[in-house]
Each structure stands twice: as C-alpha cells, then as structure tokens.
C-alpha cells in the first residue's frame, strides 16, 4: 500500500507552515492580558468610553457594527446577496420530467408526519417572534440584524423540512425571496444616500434628525441603526432560505429533503 505523493506533500506543507506560525507565537502577549497592544489601543478605548455619549446604544458591538463601521456591514450584506445570486446562477435549472424523478416526488408527497407537522405549527410562530425580538433588541442585548435574520431564515427552513419544499415555496416563493433580499440592500444603501442628500457624508446618521420627528442628533444615530439592521435582516433571511431551497432540491425547486 504505497503512500500517495499528495499526502506526503500535504504533510510537508503543513509542517513548514505550522512551524512558521508556532515560531511567531512566542512574541504574542499572554492570553487575557488587558494591557496588550490590541486591548489598550486608542481605538478600543475610544469606542468603549464614547459609545454612550455619541450614540446612546448600550450594546457596543452593535454600535460599532452599524454606525462606526457601517461600510463593512453594508458591503457584507451585498456579499451575501451576491452569494445567493451565484448559487442560483450555478445550480438553477428547469425541472426535468424523467420518470424516476416523478415517482420520487410522488412518493415524497406522502412523507408528511403528523407529529412533526403539529409541533412545527406551534413552534414556527414562536421562533419568528423570537427572531423579531432579537432584531429589535440588538441595541440592548446580544443580537442584531444578522442573528435575527438567520433565525428567521431557519424558521422557513424548518417549514420546508417538515411540510415539504413545494408547500413552503407556495408561501415564500423564489421571486419574493429575491425581491426581499434586494429590498434589504436598498434600505441600507438608501439610508446612506438620504444622509448625503440631507447634507452629511454617506452613512453619517447625525443629519437624519432633520427628518425623523422628535429626535436630536444622538438619538437619530440610534434610530438609524435600527433601520439599517432591519435591512440586513431582510437580506439575510431571504438568502438563507434561498440557499437551502436551491441546494436541497438540486436546483429544480421541486422535491428536496
């Protein structure tokens, strides 16, 4: 049983790269050191101490994600949308009517289980309500647009697993999913554009206090963060469900897991 040359090469590469990395580990600061250069730097200190004054949002991570680093989040949302489109472009094809396929789909229709259907009929509204709570409470507790959007998408995946992909596609069709994902990106970029039209920079939320009623520039940043997180949640929810629908049916959107 001779050893394949690719495995020898892989072992050599791993040993070289691993030893290089390990030799660099000696210069690292101790684990959990509050005075390491990354932790005691000016930027981290500024974010921790000034978030309550400048944005009035208790969750520092959400404030940095949606406000101070809003560009990163916007382009990440675009990346998710483009990944969904790429999966559609690679796999999507019209359903073929071969006899083996037809028999499979007909057999799948009777695979609906009573216990699963009843349980999920009770569970899915609660899951979606929890997801909306996670989106809305991103300012005060761990959460935000991404987490809530993924939980919403997972609720639709659960519906597809239990009731069959066809029944779920009747409620949340491919067209609706694509439309909602585009709407999410438009909400995010649109907020930035409105900020520019009102006189500030792109994604400079302070100038939004002119159109949002009863807010001062600091609260306008907090409210704009919520709007932007809702946009992110739309895109993430639609694309997560779309990825599952395309992958589990092999591109045909007919049968599936």
């Amino acid at each position: 049983m001779r050893v394949k040359p690719i495995k020898v090469f892989a072992l050599l590469a791993v040993i070289c790269v691993g030893s290089l990395l390990l030799s660099a580990m000696g210069d690292f600061p101790a684990f959990g050191d509050p005075n390491s250069p990354a932790n005691a730097g000016q930027l981290a200190t500024h974010y921790i101490t000034q978030v309550r004054v400048e944005t009035k949002v208790p969750n520092i991570v959400t404030a940095v994600l949606a406000d101070y680093r809003g560009f990163d989040t916007m382009f990440e949302t675009v990346v998710i949308l483009v990944a969904g489109l790429a999966i559609l472009a690679i796999l999507r094809r019209p359903a073929c009517e071969s006899s083996r396929r037809f028999a499979e789909i007909a057999a799948m229709k009777s695979h609906v289980d009573l216990i699963q259907v009843t349980t999920c009929r009770l569970l899915i509204p609660v899951i979606q309500l929890f997801a909306l709570y996670v989106i809305a409470h991103g300012h005060h507790s761990p959460g935000g647009g991404f987490q809530g959007g993924v939980i919403l998408g997972a609720s639709f995946i659960l519906m597809a697993l239990v009731n069959g992909l066809r029944a779920t596609l009747l409620r949340f069709s491919e067209k609706k999913a694509l439309f909602l994902s585009a709407v999410g990106v438009i909400i995010f970029a649109g907020t930035g554009l409105i900020c520019m039209l009102l006189g500030g920079n792109f994604l400079d939320y302070e100038v939004l206090h002119q159109i949002l009623p009863y807010t001062d520039p600091v609260m306008a940043r907090s409210h704009a963060m919520l709007i932007v997180e809702i946009g992110v949640a739309f895109t993430v929810m639609s694309i997560m469900f779309l990825i599952y629908a395309v992958l589990s049916s092999g591109g045909e959107m007919e049968g599936g897991l």
Binding site: G32, N59, V61, T62, P142, G143, G144, F146, Q147, V150, I151, G153, A154, I157, M240, I243, Y244, L247, S248, G250, G256, L257
Partner: protein, 81 residues
C-alpha cells in the same frame, strides 16, 4: 475566562476536528461539524464574545450543518477516504 473549561473545550475541539475528517459516512461528518461549531460557540461565550457566539450558534451550527446535509443528500453518502 474559566481556565479549566477553556482547556477541556480546546482539547475536545481538536478531537472533533480530527473525527469530522476521519468518518467515512458523510452524514456523520456533517453532524460532527455541527458539534465543532457548538464547541466554538461555548468557547467564545466564555471569552466574553457573546455576539459572536450567538452568530456562530445560529449560522455555523444551524444553517451550515443543514446545507451540508442537503448537499450530501443530493450527492453520495459514503466517501472512499
């Protein structure tokens, strides 16, 4: 930052990573990858990164496992190595 918990979790992480690559049944490998994701989530919650732990639990251990199993369903279940 509980040190014994960190150590045990890191050792378990290495064991699950090696197992996910050694199991020939691809369905089992996907499930072990889900275990790997949950262990990561626990480690990050211990380090104080609760947002990252929440995202990894939802995305890495939830959606990622499901789409991997969906692909295994559409292709073959057993691998030769």
């Amino acid at each position: 930052m509980i040190l014994t918990f960190d150590t045990v979790a890191l050792i378990l992480l290495v064991i699950t990573a090696i197992m996910a690559l050694k199991i020939r049944d691809l369905l089992g490998a996907s499930v072990v990858l889900g275990i790997y994701g949950f262990l990561m989530c626990l480690l990050w919650a211990d380090m104080g990164a609760v947002d990252v732990a929440f995202t990894e639990a939802a995305v890495g251990a939830g959606v990622s496992t499901v789409i991997l199993i969906a692909t295994v369903y559409q292709t073959t279940r057993h691998s030769k190595d």
